[in-house]
Amino acid sequence: MFKAMLIKEFLLVSRDKHALAALFVMPAVFILIMSLALKDVFNEDKALIEYAVIDKDHSLESYSLLSKFRANKMMTEHNVSDDFGKPKEEGVQFIVVIPEGFKSQFSQNEANNSALQIEVASDIGQSHLMLFKTQVLSSVMQVRLDAINLAAEMQSSMRGEKSEAKKIEFDEKSMMKIHYAALEEDEKPTSTQQSVPSWIVFGLFFVIIPMSTIFISERKQNTLMRLSTMNVSLPILFGGKIIPYMLINQLQVWVMIAVGMFVVPLFGAAALTIGGDISALIAVSLALSLSAIGLSILIAVTVDSVEQATTIGGIINILLGAIGGVMVPKFVMPEFMRDFANVSPMSWGLEGFLDVFLRRGTLDDVMYEVVGLVLFGLVSLIIAAGIFNYKIRRVA
């Protein structure tokens, strides 16, 4: 009986080009686009700041500052003329003007009225400005320390002493070591690891479209009624939907992982690696699948037409994705939105997948999310069964 249902659902989905596009092509394309688009956000060696410098001081100190800027891999310098326009017009984000008398900053005896002047493009956000300010301050600090170290060395030399004092260093690598939680030393999260989980979650919930379309056609054409007269009970009917779509969902998960592992690197982004347990990955994907299928069946039994199903299903998907951190990462959300994100099952699935892909999670680590997703799926199915029975009783 289940074999017949399995074959039927597979044949119907495989012949529905729109369903195939929604289930496989759309998330694969999203993974590719988002992995490439966010590639630089997760690459600290990549320039994120475009700037230009006008040096009006032409001092040793200003040259020293310029060399510090140029040594910073996060910043790319552009040339502008002295009568420069707005940063946007010059094709940069920031223009730093080193005023005449800048070197006086480094002398304790002279009045300090030579602050750097920074022109900022109007579309620069506060976090980006903060990043640039930190880089500038760090460079100025290094120039100052260089000056202090040089002065100390010269004093020792004038006294005919051999300098034994250790230089004061202001070097990031000597001051701190970065270690991402659960990752190996020197290992960094990549944009692919961030993107793949999001779009797997989103893609899995798109079973709403083919499932509800087929279910509503079955109801309208009286195929479900015919199946009832063939002793097909409600649990068998639902089971006949759950099992095939769960297999389709698993196929989706592994196709998306393959895209992350083998296709994304072809376009220059990092390949996906699975850091955590495969058992945890399977548990999360099965639980997420049950929750997506439960919601799909609930929508399918509630609405009355294919048009309603595709519209309402699509809207619910996008809302759950937006709330759940699929479209906008949760770490950029304000705290109340981060708390609100937890109402979306997509958020639970996403956290489960991030545990596996990013945090080297085990089965124990994802159990909370797995239980939540299974409960969501079961509750959705129970409500769907109630609505389905109510509708049948109303007709009967």
Partner: protein, 307 residues
């Protein structure tokens, strides 16, 4: 085979079936006639276990319906009015699915599919997608699916809606062929000529009640009708037609029967005298109507159904 006693079905306050009593014998093609809302579909739904009833008794194969629903369903099939199959599957995929879903053993299913395909002349289109079939072919596939469990009783709910006359005739012939396979057919339709053509017994239902039931022959015998059927020993149509031209109220039905408009004694005497003069031997005279349609209209126009 099917025995319904005092069946009552209410939808809230509306009475759909009003203490209906009906018996359908094994091996018959039973026509269920009635205007829209008369209760035909409700009755078919109850007999298929899709609708619960409020009062009364229903037995199928001498088994109480409510207590033996699954067992009864295994021996019955419903062919709904809608095309209840998958347009995106081929003919054979549809047959395999609906057969597989019923847990029919593989060998039996293979045999049943062969029977369903042959009976409905679907052999040349097995690998064709259902969506590409013509209206008549789709109807035949709809019927073929109903044959997959080799049922003893087949319920047809207006199976010829929206198809051309040629396809309709093909389907009616298919349904008539079930009689030789000893199947019982319960057939609802709005097309009276179809019922006349294929049914052995007919029940006319109106406002949830059976208002007339019997064999087609007895149904067409109506004492209140203003017509008589004169049965004669078989003779040539030409001779009968020639005779009828001599009396305006006399018309030929077939080689053995004539219709006389009016039942007054002088009209009857005139017709008999004419036939005697033409050397046509009279066998019997009976009350009658010409068509089931006129009977249906006269019966159902007495009351309108509410449900």
């Amino acid at each position: 085979m099917i025995k319904i006693t005092n069946l009552l079905k209410r939808y809230d306050e509306k009475v759909a079936l009003d203490h209906l009593t009906l018996e359908i014998k094994a091996g018959t093609i039973f026509g269920l006639l009635g205007p829209n809302g008369a209760g035909k579909t409700t009755l078919i739904s109850i007999l298929n276990g899709l609708t619960k009833y409020n009062e009364g008794e229903v037995t199928v194969f001498d088994l109480p319906l409510n207590d033996n629903l699954n067992a009864i369903r295994k021996r019955c099939a419903l062919v709904p009015q809608t095309l209840a199959f998958y347009e995106n599957l081929t003919v054979i995929e549809n047959l395999n699915f609906f057969g597989g879903i019923q847990n029919i053993p593989a060998d039996t299913l293979k045999k049943n599919i062969k029977y369903a395909v042959e009976t409905n002349r679907l052999g040349s289109m097995l690998n064709q997608k259902a969506s590409t079939l013509s209206g008549g072919q789709k109807r035949r596939l709809n019927i073929a699916i109903g044959l997959l469990n080799n049922p003893d009783i087949l319920f047809f709910d207006e199976p010829t809606v929206g198809i051309d006359p040629e396809s309709r005739n093909e389907i009616l012939e298919t349904i008539m062929s079930f009689k030789k396979d000893n199947k019982t057919v319960v057939y609802t339709s709005h097309y009276m000529p179809e019922i006349e053509k294929i049914c052995d017994e007919v029940a006319i239902i109106n406002a949830g009640k059976i208002i007339k039931q019997g064999t087609l022959e007895s149904m067409l015998t109506n004492e209140s009708a203003e017509q008589l059927i004169i049965e004669v020993y078989e003779t040539s149509m030409e001779k009968l037609k020639a005779s009828c031209t001599k009396m305006e109220r006399l018309t030929v039905i077939d080689e053995t029967s004539l219709l006389l408009e009016g039942k007054e004694s002088n009209t009857v005497s005139e017709a008999l005298a004419l036939l005697e003069a033409e050397n046509i031997a009279v066998k019997n005279i009976r009350y009658g109507t010409t068509t089931l349609e006129s009977l249906f209209i006269s019966l159902t126009s007495k009351g309108r159904a509410d449900v």
